[in-house]
């Protein structure tokens, strides 16, 4: 082309000044995140977090978790509810993160894999058939058995994606429940899965003749298992296979054309996911010392999804954070004797912190003042108008000072609780539709109404409350941080 006289000479690209990139050039666009806020404490935290090597993060997590039984979770009950179950949820989340987070396959059959692992352990390590194989044999078998349906489902992912794959996998999960619960085929004179009663009295996890029976022992074993699986999955993700999983999630066609066998990769992602699920399902069964099909229903699936979505799809650290938050919220909302007042503190502190996020700061002050003021006004008005019977009730579990602010009737008055509840929903919808200062002003009374509903209705019904709070938490997350707490923001260019 040098012999063509009419080719225009290439203008020299403008040299970038030493001080910093010019406005509008690529590196200026790239440094956008550094310039646009993320200052303050949160920004510092985010930068520090990113600068820590991943191996150090894992070691820190294991170190802190290993110390917990000695200072924070000293009681047996706490260690079981907070410690053991958080670790289980981390394990469950790690597996689901492979096919959903990395390979981008919407897998709604994951709980079936947990169930398969659990039943495999129950059949091979219990008095049910009289087979008492040790855990070092049973756990790998549980993983292997869970891989079989994973392969079959992986083949269906050759042609099915998105909603269609979700339907097929969900069907598989339901079919598994029916199989375990109703079909219960008779093998060697006994129902294979024990029907609706499940299989009771499993062996404790026994490795080379040593049975792990104490809660503390189980905790440390599970911590080790979670750490090893997390490290293995991390290394898998940082290899050519992991890159190919993510590439086939981003653009299957381009991945295929760029030498990646997308179908095979999808099957392998399913196998990885379900093998991890088989392992932790078996451990779950061993910890509960029994397995019933109802343990592996859609409720558990939704909880595990909440874990990985809250933490951030595709992030191992996100799975850990999501599991801690979700499990602790669950445990706190349960009626419990160990920490009776904790639930209330959690509720109020969360609301106060959320409002503190309002910018600029004086809006938050207005909301605080509005909330407190509307409380005293309403309390005084109701007391004067309807008489002390409407305001002299006491809060559950102490905190008597609250009953001078929150209206708590001494006895329930007809449908008042339902009316309050519906009123709260209406108020929230109203706040959502208002704009600007009107919203700020309406927030105060609405929050007060929330406190009233909480004290009168919600704290009495922990099951429903947990679900409502979960819903609210996920909706809030979707609006403010759709990628989850530690996930990478996902961008589509249209």
């Amino acid at each position: 082309m040098s012999d063509r006289p009419d080719t225009p000479a290439a203008p020299e690209p403008p040299a970038e000044p030493e001080a910093g990139p010019q406005v509008g050039v690529d590196s200026w666009v790239a440094s956008h995140e550094g310039r646009s806020g993320r200052g303050g404490l949160l920004g510092w935290l985010a930068r520090t977090w990113e600068s820590i090597p991943d191996a150090v993060k894992l070691l820190a997590f294991v170190g802190i978790a290993a110390s917990l039984p000695f200072w924070l979770l000293t009681s047996e009950g706490d260690l079981f509810n907070f410690g053991l179950f958080t670790l289980l949820f981390i394990g469950f989340g790690l597996g689901l993160n492979v096919d959903v987070g990395w390979a981008g396959l919407l897998d709604l059959g994951y709980v079936a894999a947990l169930g398969i692992g659990a039943y495999t352990y129950a059949i091979l390590s219990s008095g049910y058939y009289g087979i008492h194989w040790p855990a070092e044999v049973t756990l790998p078998i549980a993983m292997g058995v869970a891989m079989i349906p994973a392969t079959i489902l992986g083949f269906s992912a050759r042609r099915l994606l998105g909603d269609y794959l979700a339907i097929v996998t969900l069907f598989f999960a339901e079919a598994f429940l029916v199989f375990a619960n109703v079909a219960n085929p008779t093998i060697f004179g006994k129902g294979l899965t024990g029907g609706a009663n499940g299989i009771p009295q499993l062996d404790p996890l026994t490795f080379f003749g040593h049975a792990i029976t104490s809660t503390k022992g189980l905790y440390f074993f599970l911590l080790g298992a979670v750490a090893v699986v997390a490290a293995a999955l991390y290394l898998a993700n940082q290899s050519r296979t992991g890159r190919a999983w993510r590439a086939s999630r981003e653009d299957p066609l381009a991945a295929e054309v760029m030498s990646m066998p997308v179908n095979r990769l999808r099957i392998s992602a399913f196998i990885f996911s379900w093998a991890v699920a088989g392992l932790f399902g078996a451990i779950y069964a061993a910890i509960l010392t029994a397995t019933v099909s109802t343990n592996f229903s859609i409720g558990l699936l939704i909880t595990i999804y909440a874990v990985i979505i809250l933490g951030g799809l595709g992030s191992i650290a996100g799975v850990v954070v999501g599991a801690i938050i979700i499990n602790c919220v669950f445990v706190f909302l349960e009626p419990q004797t160990d920490h009776p007042g904790f639930k209330r503190w959690l509720f109020y502190v969360t609301i106060i912190l959320l409002i503190a996020l309002l910018k600029p700061w004086y809006k938050a002050v207005v909301v605080y003042v509005g909330t407190i003021a509307s409380g005293f006004i309403v309390h005084a008005v109701v007391g004067a108008w309807a008489g002390p019977a409407w305001t002299s009730g006491k809060t559950v579990n102490g905190a008597s000072w609250l009953s001078h602010w929150v209206v708590i009737p001494k006895v329930a008055h007809g449908n008042i609780n339902n009316i309050l509840y519906i009123g709260l929903v209406a108020a929230i919808v109203l706040v959502a539709t208002l704009k600007g200062w009107w919203r700020i002003i309406a927030l105060g009374p609405t929050l007060y109404l929330t406190a009233v509903v909480w004290e009168n209705v919600l704290s009495e019904n922990p099951g429903v409350t947990a679900l409502i709070l979960f819903g609210a938490m996920l909706v809030g997350l979707m609006i403010t941080r759709p990628q989850g707490l530690l996930g990478q923001a996902r961008v589509e260019i249209v």
């Binding site: 082309m1 080719t7 898998a236 190919a244 590439a247």
Partner: protein
């Protein structure tokens, strides 16, 4: 052109045909791309140019005809196998792995060129570490080909943060990393400003001269086509209507007709 190419055919299409329903998109097409050549495919919108690329890369299967790379037939192979025989492409509508980092995009496409399985990856065996090092080195080498454009701080950024022109360059780098014998570039200059277009034109020349790739190119920008093509093939309605040097094809009455219409249809 300055380099006199030895005429060994690399890519050969024989009597290739493809229809969507009743619509013939590629009709009895013969095309040869020789080793070391830059061949441009031009033609109005809907002429079947991108379909041609989709046929060669295995996204579509031809109804009839042969596609040969060297001695190997590509018909019926799945796209990832075709890539491994030595065909890589870019897309007209960019299809990067947007939420992966720039360097990961170029590392990911080496999947077919590498072997270490996932079990060895989890154990980080010496073979795995060595291969991983090679993958990274090759990715860096391909990115360095683009000079300052894709250097340094950009490597660890997500691909979506790149400018449009850089995304086009990254797609070429990703295709190069599969170590192909022939590169299919689908409108590499689309959406670029004149400076960038000029740059990409030079770059395509370098790809052939320094990288040693044979290049089949779809392009609408006639400056690009004129600047680098050894040969130009004009398509219309899936039929080859002209072939030869740029000047010959550009003045061919059938090509002019395909782009502008016949005289009888004009009002004056």
């Amino acid at each position: 052109m300055s380099v006199a190419p030895e005429l060994t055919p690399l890519l050969e299409l024989n009597k290739l045909s493809m229809s969507f329903g009743g619509l013939r998109v590629i009709d009895d097409l013969d095309l040869v791309v020789n080793q070391g050549e830059i061949v441009s495919v031009i033609g109005p919108n809907g002429a079947g140019k991108t379909t041609l690329f989709n046929l060669i890369t295995g996204i579509y299967r031809p109804d009839a005809g042969e596609i040969l790379l060297g001695d190997e037939s590509l018909v019926g192979l799945s796209p990832h196998k075709i890539n491994r025989t030595g065909v890589a492409r870019t897309f007209q509508t960019l299809r990067l792995f947007l939420n992966m980092s720039v360097i990961e995009n170029v590392m990911a496409s080496q999947y077919g060129r590498t072997k270490v399985d996932v079990v060895r990856a989890m154990l980080r065996t010496p073979a795995m570490r060595r291969e991983e090092k090679e993958i990274r080195a090759r990715a860096e080498e391909k990115l360095t080909f683009f000079g300052q454009r894709l250097m340094g701080y950009r490597w660890n950024q997500p691909a979506y943060s790149l400018s449009y022109a850089n995304r086009r360059r990254l797609e070429i780098a990703r295709a190069m990393a599969t170590e192909p014998k022939i590169l299919l570039l689908d409108e590499p200059a689309a959406g670029m400003n004149p400076t960038e277009t000029h740059e990409i034109t030079e770059l395509i020349g370098q790809l052939r001269d320094e990288g040693g790739y044979t290049i089949l190119l779809i392009e609408h920008d006639m400056h690009v086509v004129e600047g680098i093509s050894d040969r130009v093939v004009a398509l219309d309605h899936g039929v080859k209507i002209a072939e030869g040097s740029f000047d010959a094809v550009a003045t061919d009455p059938r090509v002019v007709e395909a782009y502008l219409g016949t005289k009888t249809t004009t009002t004056k």
